[in-house]
Amino acid sequence: MRFWLGLVAIVILACNVKAGTIEVLYANGRPPEHLDAREARGSVLIAADDVARLLNLESAWDHNLKRMTLTGEGHKLEILAGASVWVIDGRTVPASGITLLEDNTVFISAQAAASVIAPAFGRSLMWEADSNRLIVGLPSPNILDLQVNSMKGRMSLRFVTEGLLRFQLLPAGTNQLEMHIPGGVLSRDLGFESEGGLVRKVETHQEADGVTVTISLADYNLNYNVFPARNPAGIVMLVHEVNLSEIPEPELRPPRRLAWQEKIPSAKEKIDLVVIDPGHGGENFGSVGPSGYTEKEANLAIALNLKEMLESNGIEVILTRNQDRFVDLETRTEVANSVGADLFVSIHANGYGNSSASGFEVYFLSPPLDDEARVVAAMENAGIGVVAAEDVSPSDDVAFILWDTAQNEFVAESSYLAQLVDEELALRLPIKNRGVKQADFVVLKGVYLPAILVETAFITNPQEEDLLKDESFQKQVADAVAQAILRFKQDYRR
């Protein structure tokens, strides 16, 4: 054992030291506590014993050598009162900050406890000098990265997280939003600035109880959606330009607090997530019945019923619209892909130029062979064998082409789900079963998960228009789709 009796010791005389307290917060939710502290030369000092306790380490004080030893996790740290170096696992390192010896108690700087001692033991401690707070047991980072994708008229931000994290979105002034991620721990500063982008600036702040993200948007009409995402886990914000002629609510406003924002279970809990897409909306009426009932109304009513039924069966639901609002097809697809859902179900009502056409039908997507040929050609062109869809960013031609045929991988699941929905509808609806069909739907095309489109009844048929208006029919349709999803879930459980 080597002695490190520092001759240049920075030992502060007790008379220059002020006593006080600091607050200790626990990231795991334990109630906060107060700790005796000293202040000297602008540094806040805390007892090494306390540091050991907070970090769950053994501490031993050698009165003769004036040496404090902390051990734990196979590591050892020796602090010699008054010495200019510390010894960590036999290595000498410069002593960090001021050390104070007071009545056989070694005080070290809170900053050093957080930045040197805790990491030496693989523990986490954070010192907030501004607020004199020490945060204990901050888990390892769970906000790992921020991926930004910019396309013409749209931009997406994806916070890649370890597991699902709760978040809250609040307005913070003109064109500014604040997102709180309680329990969030940043891997590093994830902020950025972009001059011409729809998102001008993102700032990330690590706080004791989580992370605050400030998002500054360009000061023109933008619409945005924020969703929890899975596979990979994350929080996704989609920002897109608003076409004023299409969107009835152009000014930026805080989104409604949606149910799922509060309901995301803890990271390890498995959840099932279905995106339901009520077709049309806003200026886009879809088909219109002889008495004037619109497809967009019927679609939304059925989708809302379906959401309720699935949620009561423990399945999370995200709607691509939850009100009478225009949403373009790309956004619907983007929502489906970005939230990491298990299934995508688009709800429509049929329309035809002859009022006698009747019945329900269920579609899944069949890309024409031309597209497959195109993919092969594009891949050969780019010299790639296999590309997973998650690995491609939609910013180059090849990726776009692959994205186009995203459904190829899910044809089996999609057709099976379509089959189940058709069966369940047939059990409940008093109208003709037109069967399961395949077609090339824009809204399904880029969806990278099993996806179907349900044409519930012909709104152009007067009897079926009446049915579509009828609440009990809307519920029957929703019930059929919900049952089919539950059956699908059971059959596809791994």
């Binding site: 035809y352 056409a357 024409p368 031309d370 824009v442 809204v443 489109l453």
Partner: protein, 173 residues
């Protein structure tokens, strides 16, 4: 890079079409077509129950120009059924141009095909299939159709089906 190629083909084809058309107009006084310049063609309209198509025979004046003939047949189709079928392409729709290249017919419609379209997947599917099958039935040299709207590629007519690709008769029955 790949994506640019079809567009170039389209532009070349459009140019070729207008050049040819211009030349034709340079020919002085066209003769009144004789009776043998009429041909019986098959038009496809929607079935009343939205299950497939129904054929309707019609006599149409023809020339020796493929694209002219395609235009005349589609004009007939747009004019609507006379025999119980269901109309597919909105009757307000104009055909702005027709050209053909390597077995693909490019048909450039006015905006009305989108703006005046009303209906669901059934109506939209029937519109596309009636067009594709009508061309296939009357022009064996054509094996695919591309729909343009106001000279540009269109993604969809009614918001359901994807049409920005070569539409093959086997895929649209």
């Amino acid at each position: 890079m790949k994506k640019a190629i079809p567009i170039i083909i389209v532009i070349v084809a459009v140019a070729a079409y207008f050049v040819l058309h211009q030349g034709e107009k340079g020919v002085p006084t066209k003769q009144q077509p004789a009776l043998e310049h009429y041909r019986e063609v098959t038009l496809y309209y929607g079935a009343s129950d939205a299950n497939g198509l129904v054929a309707e025979a019609r006599r149409v004046e023809i020339s020796d120009q493929l694209t002219d003939n395609i235009r005349r047949v589609i004009d007939e189709l747009v004019s609507g059924p006379r025999n119980g079928g269901v109309a597919t392409i909105p009757s307000s729709t104009r055909i702005r141009a027709v050209f053909a290249n390597q077995g693909i017919a490019y048909i450039d419609f006015s905006r009305d095909i989108v703006d005046d379209f009303s209906g669901g997947t059934a109506a939209e599917y029937t519109l596309v299939s009636s067009l594709v099958q009508t061309i296939a039935a009357n022009f064996p040299e054509i094996d695919g159709v591309r729909i343009l709207v106001e000279g540009e590629e269109a993604t969809t007519i009614g918001g359901h089906l994807y049409i920005s690709t070569v539409l093959r008769p086997k895929d649209w029955r």
